[in-house]
């Protein structure tokens, strides 16, 4: 038996609905036999009547409603059909959910699932990675699982947290990634993981880019170069300690992220390593992001727009040559 990343998300939600009567799922096209644009809730509406609810095409009001329900003691999970559409709900997420606890000392435990990142042919409005925007604002926890196991345990953990959690699930991983079974427990939110140890270069990344980095590490291994790959798992809080420990071992840092280049997770990691671990570095740290254009539709353009094994390998060689 094997479980995909998408099935792990569905199974986590099934377990949450089964074990916690405060949980309900709120989103577009998620109910009935349809079960969501990506089928992340397939079968759940029938299994849990009245707790998997279709909403109007109203991202702002969906999140606003979830905030109200959370403040009234529920644990809503909001499914955005695509992360890109959460831009409509930015006001509720940043100004209402994110400020609630600080202003009123009332917890706002909502979990917002963002189907993120690119797939071939999805184009500028169905491919975005928005973790940088959400991490910039106070009051939100932002996670981006890269494995089937993390997709499962981090969603369960996200719903248990008394604060708003932005859960960035990668669409490319939905069907591409399989595990043998669902895990019993996992690493907590807020902790990064060294997924492959090495001594020559640290590649710090998250979400789908973890797998591109692992491919590069495997390729370099043939030449006797050992690349360490760190999966951040949570963007906020950022596990600076694990990153610094990795850089202490390798002396070299490359950050890889699929989001746009200005600011964001990769810039934050480099800023922290430069300020807190400057003495650990044997070469200038570098980063690779998507290009600073909207995300292209055609596969030939899309594969060049985002970081990939080829560009990561080239940049790695450059850092290693310094």
């Amino acid at each position: 038996m094997s479980v995909t990343y998408l099935e792990a998300i569905r199974e986590a939600q099934a377990r949450l609905l089964r074990e916690d009567e405060r949980v309900f799922i709120y989103g577009q096209d998620i109910a009935g036999k349809f079960g969501g644009a990506f089928k992340a809730t397939k079968g759940l509406a029938e299994q849990f009547p009245g707790r998997v609810l279709n909403t109007p095409i109203s991202e702002d009001a969906m999140v606003g409603t979830a905030i109200g329900a959370a403040m009234e003691g529920m644990r809503p999970i909001v499914e955005m059909q695509f992360a890109d559409f959460s831009s409509i709900a930015l006001n509720q997420l940043l100004n209402n959910a994110g400020t609630q606890y600080w202003r009123t000392q009332t917890s706002c435990p909502i979990t917002v699932r963002l189907p993120s990142g690119g797939t071939k042919g999805s184009g500028p409005f169905h491919s975005q990675s928005m973790e940088g925007i959400y991490s910039h604002y106070p009051g939100l926890v932002v996670v981006a699982p890269a494995t089937v196991e993390d997709a499962y345990t981090m969603l369960i953990d996200a719903v248990a947290i008394d604060d708003p959690v932005i859960y960035c699930e990668h669409k490319y991983l939905y069907y591409h990634l399989k595990a043998d079974a669902l895990p019993k427990d996992g690493l907590p939110i807020g902790k990064a993981r060294v997924v492959r140890p090495g001594r020559d270069l640290s590649i710090v990344t998250y979400s789908a880019m973890v797998h591109e980095a692992l491919a590069v590490a495997q390729q370099f291994n043939a030449d006797g170069i050992e690349i360490e790959v760190v999966d951040l798992r949570s963007l906020k809080p950022l596990d600076t300690d694990t990153v610094l420990a990795s850089v202490a071992r390798t002396g070299r840092l490359l950050c890889v992220g699929e989001a746009f280049p200005w600011g964001g997770a990769t810039a934050e990691v480099i800023a922290r390593v430069a300020t807190e671990g400057f003495h650990l570095l044997d070469a200038a740290p570098a980063r690779i992001n998507a290009k600073d254009t909207p995300i292209p539709y055609h596969p030939n353009l899309w594969t060049e727009h985002r970081p990939n094994a080829k560009t990561i390998a080239a940049k790695s060689r450059q850092i290693l040559a310094e």
Partner: protein
């Protein structure tokens, strides 16, 4: 004694609404309090803006008066009267405006942004329409938990009716079939902008059927009408009716905030019937119908002044928040706070 009681009963029956006098007292408290706020603001005693509901006291009082424990109120900037009538202690607003660290927002947010969770009142954000779905979510959760007999009410201006968030929120309330009332006060100025640059329908109440709401118009300067119409809408929603839209007409008898002299309001507009002062109008009715004798009215005013003065004195004696004593943590899960050294 018997004579007095009989006279009281006779007077009560002259009232145009059974809760007229009770409502008037909240209006009076609001007027006196907000005049005090204005004076403190002009004296440099208040940091940030002061936003008052002068001219909207009748509508606002009616918004708070018919709510009960378990109901939800999401007030906006001109709703001091609604907040007070629905149970927010006067000291809360005083502490917030005067920056006391004992206030409900402890200096973290100011003036009109406070909430009062124990009295069912949400802390508004400035983005108009944003509180509508939050009320819907509260009501939806109550429904899911099997609670009964509750209602949620929020207020808006004619300007706030024009945002995308308002459209989404109003529709969501109807789709979720929650007991919801929205009271829109058209005070004819959204900051400085007039109705003709805000909307182009004949009357905002015409939108009610488009959302699946029942719509009601009311003269916002007439306390009895406000009590009748808003009280009726709250009851209709509570009893299982569809969402209710009430549109009240008034003139804002102040600036947008106290920093604004409202010199853009044409003088002839102040002579319109809908530009009357609802507090003066209610007081005149009370005198004309003999609902209170002049002595009692004077005594009420003195009581209200004393309540306001006491609250201000208390808040002024309290300490301000201190930066290096503040808990700079925006999450309730402390261990998940991101730390940058």
């Amino acid at each position: 004694m018997l004579q007095t009681a009989e006279r009281g009963a006779a007077k009560e029956s002259n009232a145009p609404h059974p809760r007229y006098l009770e409502a008037f007292r909240w209006m009076l408290q609001t007027r006196v309090f907000e005049e005090k706020l204005t004076s403190l603001y002009r004296g440099g005693q208040i940091t940030g803006g002061v936003y008052i509901g002068r001219g909207q006291e009748a509508v606002s009082t009616a918004c708070g008066l018919f709510l009960q424990k378990g109901d939800i109120l999401a007030p906006l900037i001109r709703d001091q009267a609604a907040r007070a009538a629905f149970g927010e202690p006067l000291i809360n607003v005083t502490r917030t405006y005067l920056g006391s660290r004992q206030g409900p927002m402890r200096g973290r947010d100011g003036n009109i942004h406070r909430g009062c969770a124990e009295a069912g009142q949400l802390a508004m954000i400035s983005h108009l329409g944003a509180m509508i779905p939050v009320v819907v979510g509260k009501l939806l959760a109550k429904k899911m938990k099997g609670e009964k007999g509750f209602v949620g009410l929020t207020t808006l201006g004619e300007g706030g009716m024009q945002t995308g968030a308002t459209h989404e929120g109003l529709n969501m309330a109807a789709v979720e079939k929650v007991p919801f009332v929205v009271v829109v006060t058209n005070n004819h100025f959204a900051y400085s902008t007039t109705n003709d640059r805000q909307f182009a329908c004949a009357h905002l109440v015409d939108r009610a059927p488009g959302y699946g709401y029942e719509g009601h118009k009311v003269d916002g300067t007439d306390l009895a009408a406000c009590l009748e119409v808003i009280g009726g809408a709250v009851k209709r929603a509570r009893d299982g009716g569809p969402p209710q839209l009430v549109v009240a007409s008034t003139l804002r008898l102040a600036g947008h905030g106290e920093h604004d002299d409202a010199s853009y309001v044409p003088p002839e507009m102040r002579k319109e019937a809908w530009a009357q002062d609802s507090v003066q109008r209610a007081e005149q009715l009370i005198i004309d119908r003999g609902l209170l004798d002049p002595e009692t009215l004077k005594q009420w005013r003195a009581e209200v002044v004393a309540e306001v003065e006491k609250a201000v004195e208390t808040a002024q004696r309290e300490g301000a928040p201190v930066g290096n004593e503040e808990d700079w943590c925006a999450l309730s899960t402390r261990e998940l706070m991101d730390t940058i050294s």
